[in-house]
Symmetry: C2
Subunit: 458 residues, 2 copies
Amino acid sequence: MAERSISLEDTIVTLAEQKKYPTLRDILVTMNPADTAALFEELDEHLLPLLFRLLPKDEAAETFVEMEPDSQELLIRGFSDSELKEVVDELYVDDAVDLVEEMPANVVRRILRQADPETRKLINNILKYPDDSAGSLMTTEFVDLLPTMTVEDAIKRIRRTGTDKETINICYVIDDGRHLLGTVSIRTLILSEEDEAVSDVMEENVISVGTLTDQEDATALFSKYDLTVVPVVDNENRLVGIITVDDALDVLETETTEDIEIMGGVTPTDKPYFKTTVWETFKARFPWLLLLMISATFTGQIIASFENALAAATVLTAYIPMLMDTGGNSGSQASVTVIRGISLNDIEFSDFFRVVWKEIRVAVTCGVALAAVNFVKLLLVDGMLFHNEAVTVPVAAVICLTMVCTILCAKLVGCTLPMLAEKLGLDPAVMASPFITTIVDALSLLIYFRFATAILQL
Amino acid sequence: MAERSISLEDTIVTLAEQKKYPTLRDILVTMNPADTAALFEELDEHLLPLLFRLLPKDEAAETFVEMEPDSQELLIRGFSDSELKEVVDELYVDDAVDLVEEMPANVVRRILRQADPETRKLINNILKYPDDSAGSLMTTEFVDLLPTMTVEDAIKRIRRTGTDKETINICYVIDDGRHLLGTVSIRTLILSEEDEAVSDVMEENVISVGTLTDQEDATALFSKYDLTVVPVVDNENRLVGIITVDDALDVLETETTEDIEIMGGVTPTDKPYFKTTVWETFKARFPWLLLLMISATFTGQIIASFENALAAATVLTAYIPMLMDTGGNSGSQASVTVIRGISLNDIEFSDFFRVVWKEIRVAVTCGVALAAVNFVKLLLVDGMLFHNEAVTVPVAAVICLTMVCTILCAKLVGCTLPMLAEKLGLDPAVMASPFITTIVDALSLLIYFRFATAILQL
């Protein structure tokens, strides 16, 4: 893919320099809007308005939607009012809302001025809903039918009004008060007799979401119930919009990226890697590093307070990284598994003790197995092979007991913190590797020195 | 949600004990198959066959598809041959294939014996494709049209054959040799004039995948091009099946879970948390812990080889955890960001030097900022406030220089390893926190002791 788009890019630039506009247009119309947008992002800014104007009207709008906000703004600033109106008229309402949310205030004023009054009203309505709510994600362009219509009436209505709708695959049956009564798929309509009533063929068991439902919860319904559209209703069950699966997929991708970034100790951003400046990346990473660095100084203080013990048995120092790392990794395993389980709704807070009990058993088996391997390795490899006489049986015992207890603590910390975070309304993803590691480091050292002072009488 | 399903569960159990089957049936038919399946999973096994038999035929099949393999097997073992046939006949081919893949050999033989000959052939065809390929994911139940048909013919054909198809929203136009010529949506057909030719209204610019395309690449097309179905073609562009967005969503969820688990140092499993036994969880986690523990012993050897330096300046030991953790966290930040960028196709191997250059700049800014905070903290807090006279300016300089260099190395290791893994055909997710931390730990200690011996003349 990479090679191909590079050479296409060069061709486009050459053709543009030679002013071969019909050829350029022929190339662009064969391309899919998503690919055209990706190509435009690669090209030099000054070519953008020229190439964009070569696209047919409907393809122009579809390409525009796929572009990054920076390029969209650049294009809008170069548009005449009538050009802007043409693009805005072609956009679906949800895409227009996304655009308005991304643009600076003076550009937004121009967009809203060019939108026709009804579209403007729809945009403003959707803008009222909080970010990340189902309401802010929906579009208002759906097909509505009345229960009293016949299948023939319904198909006629779809023919008449369907062109501007985001989807006609599922139509919505509402009463005079716009309350949602049921859904009917175009498939059902096509396969039914023409004189049947819509109310007889509709599906009444409808999965819908409220306007204020969190967008993550709304999008989870798509995979749970194998849906391609979900209706959005107000608190009196009046149909106000629909969410289509393509938007749900985008939300899913964004939310997953956010989770993964938070789990890696990075403040999430919705921009692709190369679109963020060094300064933005710095701001996304520095606060976490600072916080974790400060937390890690406590671990240092634990070491400092056992300085005398360490001086008496210097051999112990060499095993600190291994114990800390194994603890950290054990904790990460538990936390990552539980965080993912929570976001897939496999684990809820009511499962707290089931999770803890499972992790205890896993921890004990892992801990004992690792400690056994380690005990043999310490005595055979470190002790006999490398003739390190400081590695005695009591020292090996200290290290291996620490390992079992550290893994147990690590798994417990790793599985409980995400569930507690969820219960407190925090994002469980925060309780991933970096935090768990920092906490477990301190715990592992405390356990280590406790066993060392007890067994080695330091 | 949890509370509701618990009380519903109790009601169901009570009604079953009282043998109130009509009431039970009334409750079950109002439920969505996905919810029914989830409810069944919560109930005691002995109730399963009874309740399942209360479901109407089509709903039974839909519920069956949503259940866990264990429960499916339990049901099949209790089915008479005719009951099994009823369920198998109602399944879409892709769901039947999934079932066959999950069941033990003797159950598979029974399923295939009950399937009608054509279905059996289709199932066997799909089973030939490798796991994780587009071919193994597809279904063969799509609507095919000829280019010479009129829109009216096409709609008639859909009415006649559409009932058994997984979707009719997109239909496929093929020639006599079954080569894929284009697609036409039901929407286009409904909105077109009846006497237009299918070839005139079809979309010729079709996004398709090969049967052997990796399922992850195939599903990425859905969000990239906003699709709800993707056609699967063989290497001569003959249409052999389609993948629908609901299956793509499942793949996306599974692959994301896999990535996250691998990043957390756990061998991925496709079972939910509570469905794995302690032994399975142990097997998924122990090998990674063992491998990482062994790697961490090298870090220990570095400490051991600088034992004399540490004995001469014991103050240095207390700062080891902070330096190791900050290095590990910096590396994780870079690796997580790059791993996610690779899986979203934002980053390719050809971007290697752009990524490295960006990470260098981020590393230097983060490193210098953290070192500055740390320098002040070391001299003011540790030195003056806690009267730790060992924390001199040269010692603080060693710690802060180590911090800058460690962060630089960590970010470089963190960003390059995932890209190299991808280039070598490995899963980039392997190069996340646990591995990066282990490597960076060793690097940070080497840097630390190098600076210490040079500046403090140990």
